[in-house]
Amino acid sequence: MKWNFIFGESEKDLSPVFSSNMVSITMGSLWLMGIILVLTWPYSFLFQYLEGFQIPPTFLCIFVGGLIMISYLNLRSALGEIVPDSFFARLEREGVTTFEEERDYLTYGFPQSLFHTLVFHLLLLPFLIIGAAITGISWSNFFLGLAILFTASLLCRQVSFFLLLTLGRWQVSGYVGARLFYFIFLFATAFIAPFLNPVLLLVKLHYGERVPFGPVIHSLFPFFAVVLSSVLFFLLLNQGIIRRHNRKRSRA
């Protein structure tokens, strides 16, 4: 079993999970989540919320904040942007084919994506639990929310890696393309295809039938169907691209 993607910090590792820079960024996301929790904490008494038929915003803010952070971190990780802070770090990595780009995607790159996304979610788990408990979210909705976060951030990672494979590392087109996809998927779909928008789905889980804005989305099945299909599609696509690149290299 190759553990490079967990602990490695060489120039051939695209985005190790526990590299020094990644750890710093991960800790920063934890602090940010704590700040979100402090800002959205219900400082009034619980009965006052009931009296005014109001729902504490904690769950929505924590989960949407988590969605935005984890998805963006996955995006940057898949693009290989998170490198050590040394002056020569980028120079050392210019033109180097990473393990993720040359090894079988199904046995290396994809498990790394899954593992890294899982690590993000586990580290934020206490905040997510507190956010759900304070808003009185049921167990089923809590796990649905986790599933939304996981699948959405995994899709962002898959698409970013696809852009890395096709456009190359540290390319402006890849940089812009990944962020464009991020913006469209997390925000623009609210206007084009609301059933695909993870933020609106979290709003639905938060408010139930009392959604104050946007259309009422009755089922989460279309979202999961589309996103999981897309994950599978990009998985196969990335695998195909890596194999093609490997064949080219072997001929060369």
Partner: protein, 700 residues
């Protein structure tokens, strides 16, 4: 449908008259000499033969006829059961008293369902829509009941509903699961009135009363439409019921009527020929009288003193000979009791020894004055009743709900410690890569441990109380023989979606929903009163982060007796508590002064003399003194809600009794744990203490 297909695909119909044409068949000889298109004996050959026969009779069939004929038959088979079932139900609904009801009062609804098809087990649903689209406060109240209709059966279902708006039609539905078997809507505009009703129940009562008054609406109704609950008479000023009809009432109708009388109802019952033949068992349970015979008279002179008119008729009429206690006879003609009056609880029952449906009474010119006098004798409703303000009740009840947010002062250090610990573990991994796998284990454990701690903390304070309820009970005793009226203010608080069910118990209380303070909250206002096997329950659909308040009212006999007698410069008070609960912190009010009685234990009798002299123990009634005396009686810490409600009750008492010297008021608390519940649920009134208000008549 079959007929439509038949018409569409017959191109022309020529009816051939005469036997000759009918007998003129086309035979296979038509095809002699030519190659027959079909094998003789085959289906197609037979069809051609039939077609030919029919053509000879004048019917020219299209070649598509057979195909569509079969389709039509299939269609009929599919529709058959549904159409048969729909036709198998006959539903007849009577709203109110023979179609009339008083607005903003509880009203009986009688539904007779006849099932002429296979057995049905379903739910009878009555939907009452209230509010106004203009004010955006439309909501629905559902009254549902389980129905079981065997094959070829007919049943009568009685419900009592509250209609507070005539704008929206009343909907009556019969459901089996999600399928609606029957639906009907009743336009309420033709049925409502805003006046109290004078109800004449029975046959031959039309045109009995000549009173055309603006104060009341006279309604004539068969006895079978009388309500089955005591509060179904809420809009009734008085009821006239022939004595012979008491035995014909359904058990529930009799129980409801008796309870209504005890709780302030006014019933006039008249006797006649039938009453002399049949026993009046049910009536005798409420009013001790005995019918010993009949006599014929031509006049009743005593009525002149009663209403100014003597009753004389050209033909003799019958008068019941009855025996009754003298104290209950308010009018007698010689030694013949004519009108009996019996106070039953808070209500009154009158008995006439003469038949008001007889022609002698109908032709009597004095009947208008007579009825006017009778209606004036009715019990006076207690208009000044303590009704706590909803606003002053909601917040204290809400604040007492058990759910709380986890303490920020506990959670913040916990999460801070978590972040610092994770930071420590994560920083070690890149530094000691060879032992990184070993560092992953404590990292994982830390995550799981802190997650469990966060979950446990929130569960203890909040999650396990996602749905909770509480309330406060106010008991009021008025009069020595009257049952105690109880009002329970129930609050339901929820942080989740779902349904809340609250069994109402066998006391059949009157339940009303208290409007929310927020106009936008009317979307959460819908609720259902469901009756199954004679037991009613409240079903409230829950919406997350919402609350609901209900008011329940009922009556219960309490084993409490009191006697107050006015003596020289004081009052002699005797209170007997034959119950199993204590009455705590009793205070008595009279003439602007408060007196402390302390606690009255179970099975205890308290005798006390209250001196009214200025030097006596009584304290002048002021808000401050009330608060001080209430607090002095507290044992288990502050109870803000009870204190607040009791204080408001005292202010209400002082306002009501300012100029009254015929009664004293006692207020105390009853421990809810020891207050008995008649049956399941064991704790119908979950609250800390109950407030007892007791009006004790003062004898001189």
């Amino acid at each position: 449908m079959f007929f439509t297909f038949f018409i569409l695909f017959i191109r022309k119909i020529r009816i051939t008259l005469g036997l000759k044409n009918i007998l003129r068949f086309q035979t296979e000889k038509k095809y002699l000499g030519r190659h027959p298109p079909f094998r003789p004996g085959s289906g197609a050959w037979r069809f051609r033969k039939v077609k030919g026969n029919l053509r000879s009779m004048g019917f020219n069939l299209s070649r598509y006829f057979i195909k569509y004929f079969i389709l039509a038959c299939l269609f009929m088979i599919l529709l058959g059961p549904t159409s048969a079932l729909a036709n198998g139900l006959v539903v007849e609904a009577t709203l109110g008293f023979n179609g009339t009801f008083k607005l903003n009062s509880w009203t009986p609804l009688t539904v007779v369902i006849e099932n002429r098809h296979r057995g049905i087990q379903g739910i009878l649903e009555i939907v009452v829509t209230s509010g106004s689209e203009y004010q955006n406060d439309v909501y629905q109240t559902n009254y549902t009941m389980d129905v079981d209709l065997p094959t070829y059966s007919k049943k009568t279902y009685g419900l009592t509903i509250l209609i507070d708006s005539y704008v929206h039609p009343l909907i009556i539905r019969l459901r089996k699961g999600k399928e609606v078997l029957f639906s009907e809507s009743i336009n309420l505009r033709e049925h409502y009135t805003t006046k109290p009703l004078l109800l004449f129940a029975g046959d031959n009562l039309q045109n009995l009363s000549p009173m055309v008054t603006e104060d009341f609406q006279t309604v004539y109704t068969p006895a079978r439409y009388l309500p089955e609950t005591w509060y179904g008479y809420q809009g009734i000023k008085g009821l006239i019921l022939k004595a012979s009809l008491w035995k014909n009432l359904q058990p529930k109708q009799y129980a409801g009527l008796a309870q209504w009388i005890k709780t302030g109802g006014y019933v006039i019952t008249a006797g006649g020929l039938q009453e002399s033949s049949f026993p009046l068992e049910r009536l005798e349970q409420l009013m001790p009288l005995r019918v010993v015979g009949l006599e014929q008279v031509r006049e009743i002179s005593a009525l002149r003193a009663f209403c100014g008119y003597k009753l004389i008729h050209r033909d003799p009429f019958l008068l019941l000979k009855i025996t009754a206690p003298p104290s209950e006879t308010i009018l007698r003609d010689g030694d013949r009791p004519l009108i009996l009056e019996k106070g039953v609880g808070l209500g009154k029952l009158l008995f006439f020894a003469f038949d008001v449906t007889d022609s002698s009474f109908r032709d009597w010119p004095g009947r208008g004055a007579f009825w006017e006098k009778i209606w004036q004798m009715g019990p006076v409703a207690d208009a000044a009743h303590f009704q706590p303000e909803a606003k002053k009740l909601f917040s204290p009840l809400l604040s007492r709900m058990p759910a709380r947010f986890p303490s920020f002062l506990i959670l913040f250090p916990l999460l801070l410690g978590y972040v610092l610990l994770i930071n420590l573990f994560l920083k070690r991994i890149p530094q000691k890569r060879t032992q990184a796998l070993k560092d992953l284990l404590p990292l994982t454990l830390a995550v799981l441990l802190f997650s469990s701690a966060c979950f446990g903390l929130s569960w203890l304070t909040q999650t396990r109380y996602k749905l909770s309820s509480n309330g406060i009970l106010h008991l009021k005793i008025t009069g020595p023989q009257a049952p105690a009226q109880w009002n329970y203010y129930l609050g339901i608080y929820t942080q989740k979606d779902g349904e809340f069910r609250f069994p109402l118990g066998p006391e059949d209380p009157l339940l009303t929903s208290i409007p929310p303070a927020l106009i936008d909250a009317y979307q959460f206002y819908t609720y259902t009163l469901h009756e199954s096997r004679g037991v009613r329950s409240l079903r409230v659909p829950l919406h997350r982060w919402s609350h609901r308040f209900f008011s329940l009212t009922g009556f219960r006999e309490l084993p409490l007796q009191a006697q107050a007698r006015f003596q020289e410069e004081g009052i002699s008070l005797s209170i007997e508590n034959r119950s199993s609960f204590s009455i705590l912190n009793c205070l008595v009010y009279f003439g602007g002064r408060l007196f402390t009685l302390g606690n009255i234990g179970p099975e205890e009798r308290l005798n006390k003399r209250l001196s009214l002299t200025p030097q006596g123990p009584g304290i002048p009634f002021t808000p401050r003194e009330v608060e001080v005396m209430l607090k002095a009686g507290l044992k288990d810490g502050p109870m803000e809600l009870e204190m607040e409600m009791t204080k408001n009750l005292w202010f209400s008492i002082q306002e009501r009794s300012q100029y009254k010297i015929d009664r004293i008021f006692l207020v105390g608390w009853i421990d809810s744990q020891s207050f008995p519940s008649p049956a399941k649920p064991e704790n119908l009134f979950p609250s800390r203490v109950h407030i007892l208000e007791w009006e004790i008549p003062l004898e001189t």
